[in-house]
Structure formats: structure tokens, C-alpha cells
Amino acid sequence: MLEIDGVSINYGPVSAVRNVSLKVEKGEIVALLGPNGAGKTSLLSAAMGLRPLAAGSIRFKGEDMRRLDTESRVRRGLTLTPEGRKVFANLTVLENLDLGAATRAKGADFHADIEMCFELFPILAERRHQTGGSLSGGEQQMLAIARALMSRPSLLMLDEPSLGLAPRIVGQIFRLIRDLRQRDLTILLVEQNAHEVLRFADRAYVLSTGECRYAGPAARLQEAGALMQAYIGELVA
């Protein structure tokens, strides 16, 4: 579904990502792991067209994304829940969800989708007229995911959904993400919280200092020391 091929990303003279390839097949949950500053967020930004590529290509459903702007990528079913949730703090929960459906007309299925979100996240239904800024961190993360679902994505990219959340809430969010697979969604999940994610991801990639250190089944990374080795790379090997 998503094919990232030999991508490099630069911030001015600084190279953030070097020659990274990554593939997500339909129906998979793929984890993209790695320490802070590894280039994970840059890679997702580039996939959405918010960052230019210095090299390489990005294809989604077989189509070259390089010429398409962010808005067109969303229209084609690619969605990113950004790092830090980025809920619209001055808009109500309902208004946040409304904007999430910006690529679609406000027809009958719009209201059905709102109901679907409220079913998935009952707390949002209770808070529907509250502003995004007044929600707790966990609620904001739920709203950010619900908002992303409103665009009816086929691939949902989540950037650190567990960031800054209490462990109990993190478990809840991860369970939800797992359940989303039943909704015909493919998921690319960026996380620092590797051990939790590896329990339910199909495959995993590990980025470190802008380079790909591991690509393969998630299960193999769970073996003792494997993750450490992938993070630190040659040093241990």
C-alpha cells in the first residue's frame, strides 16, 4: 500500500534521514521504532508532503506521491495523526471531527461517521461541545485518532500516540489501535514505547540516527537483546 523507497530528507545542511526504504502492505500494522531524533517524524512528514525529499520516492496505492500536495494525499486515503496530537484547542470536539472530514461533503454518511467515532470513543460523545483544549491528554489522543478516521483513510499513520500519557491510558489507546485493524484499516505506528507495540505489530522497522537498522517481523525484535542491538547498531554487533 505504502512504498517508501530510498528516501533521504535534509534540514538545510543537516541530514535527518538517509536512504530509508519501508513498505506497508494492506491490512498490516507496521511499527516504526527508534530513539528520539532518529528521523521517524521526518519520514512521516515527508510521506504527507510536508517535507521535501532530497532523494528517493514515495508511492501510495501504486501512485507516485511526489507531485501531490498534502491535501491530495489525504484525499487518496493517507492520513497522519501528528506527534503531540495537535487537537484544535479552540474548536469543540464536534468541530474537530467536522474538520477531520474536510475532504468529504457533509452528507448523510458524515453523521453516521460521527456516530461511529462516538461509539468507538464514548467519552468524546460526552465531551462533544467542549473545546479540544479542555480535554485530558488521553481524551485528546482519542480525539486526534477519531478526527483522522473522519477522512475515511485506508492507511492511518500515528506519530507517538502514547507520548505523555499515563500507562493505563496507553494500554487503552493501543487496544483501540489494534481494534482498528478490524475496520479495514492499515496502520503505520511510530513509537518509542517499543515493547508494548511489538506485541501486536506484524512487522517492524527500527530507525536510528536517520538510518534503517532493522526491517523484519516484529516477533524477532522481541527476542532478548535484539531490540537493543537494532537501536545501537554496529556497536553491539
Binding site: 504527507m48 510536508l50 500536495d69 498534502t70 491535501e71 489525504v74 484525499r75 492520513t79 497522519l80 501528528p82 495537535k86 484544535f88 484547542a89 479552540n90 474548536l91 468541530e95 467536522d98 474538520l99 477531520g100 474536510a102 475532504t103 457533509k106 478526527r147 477522512s151
Partner: protein
Amino acid sequence: MDYLIEQALNGFSIGAQYSLLALGLAIVFSVMGLVNFAHGEFIGVAGYAMFAMAAMGMTDPWLLVVFAMATVTLVALVLERVAFRPVRNAPPTTGLLTAFGVGIILQNLFLLMVSPRPKAVPELSALNQTVEVAGHNFTILQFLEVGVTSVAIAGLVWFLKGTRIGLAMRAAALDFTTVRLMGMRANRVIATAFAISGLLASIAAIFFIARRGAIDPFMGLLPVLKAFVACVLGGFGSLPGAVVGGLLLGLVEVLLIVLLPDKLAGLRDASVFLIVGVILVFRPQGILGRRVELGDKTA
């Protein structure tokens, strides 16, 4: 007492004009961080559009008003596309200089194509007729200014709360990148902001021209300055702040007309700015603005 009531409405009606102009500045600023100092020239565009129509023999006031509003809105959209879109991602000073440049070009276009001297636009002057309400003398224009401005603000509130592009504009004021991640086109959001700012300015312009009955190439200069002050007073970037700032500025101005002896009438604008300065000493973030932490510069 009579005089006071009459002047109070006068203050509100002048304040309404400032509010409309200030709202336009604030809307564009909130979505793209640009202080559009060419905003005052929308008044000139409205004036010269009406002047040109009248010169061609069309003097029906309604037709002129509609034509002026349509022209200004269109010009706002064209300016966004031609002048401001190319510098959208440039540093803020570039946008500011672009706005000044656009203003100077428009002023000189009026000057070259029509005349450097004031021209009469008397078609709307009938609005200055006095009517007597409960023993007080008002003009039709004053009621229109307050009434139409209220309707325009109500319409704007509906637009910002009830339409998706309106939601996007509010969201973009805080986080444009995430608005784009929703699949909302940045160009559409910004063009809409410009169209609204043009539309609001055209309403203010019509009242302004109806009061003066004449136009000149530099007529937008002082109003845009006042609108800017209204924005600062209300809290820059805040839309309710722009309305409150505009009204307050109008009221203070009229209050000074009432209070200042004739001999000191020339000091009116200076006194207005002095009062604004004093208010800002106590509320540097403006009346409805949020305080931005700029760091301690006292050493």
C-alpha cells in the same frame, strides 16, 4: 444631554467602521501572520470603482454599492493571488513590505488614472439626511453604520462557526499545518480570509465615502492606521478584540470631539493615540489579547 446621546450614536457608528476594517486586518493576520497595510487601499478601490461607474452614467446608489463591494472583494482575491501568495512562506518583514508596496502601487494607480485631486462622489450623500427620533437628531447613515455592521459581524460569526472553511480559518489561526493534514487546502483558507477582509472593508468604505462625499488617492491611509490601532487595542489577532478595539477607538474619538475645546480640536488624533498608549501601558496584550511571553529584557 441631547448632545451626548447624539454623540454616543456617532461614536458607535464611527467605531463600527473601524471595527469592520480592524476585523479584516485581524482575519488575514490570524490565518497567515500578515499585517496587510494595503488594507486601507480597499477604501480607495471602492471609491474609485463607484466614481468610474458614476462617470459612465450609472448613478443608482444601490447599483454602485453592490458594484463597489464586488470590486473590492475581487481585488482582495487578486492581490492575494498575485502579491501575497508568492511571499507566503517568506519572513514576516517580506510580507509587510509587500503590503506597503501594494498600497503604494494602488495609490499611484488612482493618482495616474484619475487625478491626484479629490473627486466628488455625491451619489450616497442622501444618507446624511437628518432624521428626528424621540427628539434627537441623527442621520440615516449612523443607523445604517451600526445596523449593517452588526449584521456583518453576526454573519461572520455564523460563517466561522457554521461552515467548514470557517472552522478551518479558526483552527488555522493556531496551527495551519494540522489544518492541511485534514486535507484542507491552504490556498482556499487564505483566499477566503482575503475575500472576507475585502468584503468587510468594502462595507466600511461605503460608509466612509458616504460621510465624506469625496475620494482621493490617499484616503485609505488614516483609516488603515486607525484599524491597526484598533487591532492593537483589542489584542492583535483576536477577532472579538478587533471589534471591541474599533468601537472603543470610535467612542474615544467622539468623546474627545465633545470634550476638547475648539482651540485644541487639532490635537484630537494626538490625544486619541495618547489614550491608546496609556491603555497599552496597563494592558500591553490588548483588551482581549492573550499575553505572549517575550522574555525579560530588563537588565
